[in-house]
Amino acid sequence: MGLHRRRPGRPGSIATRRRERWALALLACLSLLMPLAAPAATGPAKADAGVSSPDLEERVRDVASELRCVVCQNLSVADSPSDLAKEMRNLIRELLQQGKSREEIKAYFVSRYGDFVLLEPPKRGFNLLVWGLPFAALLVGACGVYLVAKRWTERGHQAAPPLDPAYAERVRRELKEREGRAGS
């Protein structure tokens, strides 16, 4: 029976094909939505932190986690053990105590170090490529997966080449012989 299922020549009904196409389209859509779901899940937590009144250290960490430690490799000011990052955290604390907002503090660091200091590049100009390319690549990839899968399923539905009657007769005869041997 297993052999039968794997045989490529078995044509499926129109309804089955339609169902398969819908499943493929759904799969492609889901693969597109997956990365969007992750930031959406973390979003509210961040917003809550801003609404409630966290203590000063939490607010320092909050701002520092968005700034790049300028003497490190891909570490935030919040996570870096370097002396300069420590001084930056102290400065953030001081600025917060002076009543400066998170955006004002970030703007101050950008005015000194440029956009480089932001761990998340601002969504403008050339930076848009950084934001747009992963989604574009994902879209192209999903289309590619859909097309390839479609081609495979269509190939699967192609009719099998006609069976040689002589060969079919031989198989039938040998099977009968074998059954006869088994029965005796």
Binding site: V70, E87, N90, S111, Y113, F116
Partner: protein, 174 residues
Amino acid sequence: MSWKKALIPLACVPLIILLAYGFRTDPKAIPSPLVEKAAPGFRIAIYDGDDLSLEGLKGKPVVLNFWASWCYPACYEEAPLLEATWWKYKDQGLMMVGVDIQDKEANAREFMGRFNFTFPNGPDPGSKVSIDYGVYGVPETFFIDRQGRITYKHVGGLTPELIEEQVRAILKER
């Protein structure tokens, strides 16, 4: 069918352009947003005890150098150059200021003594001046004209040609 075959190499073109741009750009070269802008004001306590502020140097071209005794070899290589340039141009009104960052006073004094620094140098407690100037390493040097505008920022050790050219530029501007 032929346009489909051409699609794959065509799709690679923007990727190649992007990679060419990326590989030709020096990731360590971070352009300072302070160049061509007014130099942030500062006040430092000079090692001999006096206070020095940028405000007090109004009208003078200034070379502002950030260094540290632990910055080897770049700071050691450029130190004699700084002292020599200071002697060469101080009579023409040039001001040279050294900001010693994240250092121990004893080590800093030993460094200044080794190179016979005569221009004012002072520590930067809390790295406030360094952060205000967007310093991310040592040595870094800022050239400030008579109007208090940063004309050039150099990251790394200075060369005789570079300091000469930049000092002449800030001396020339009236």
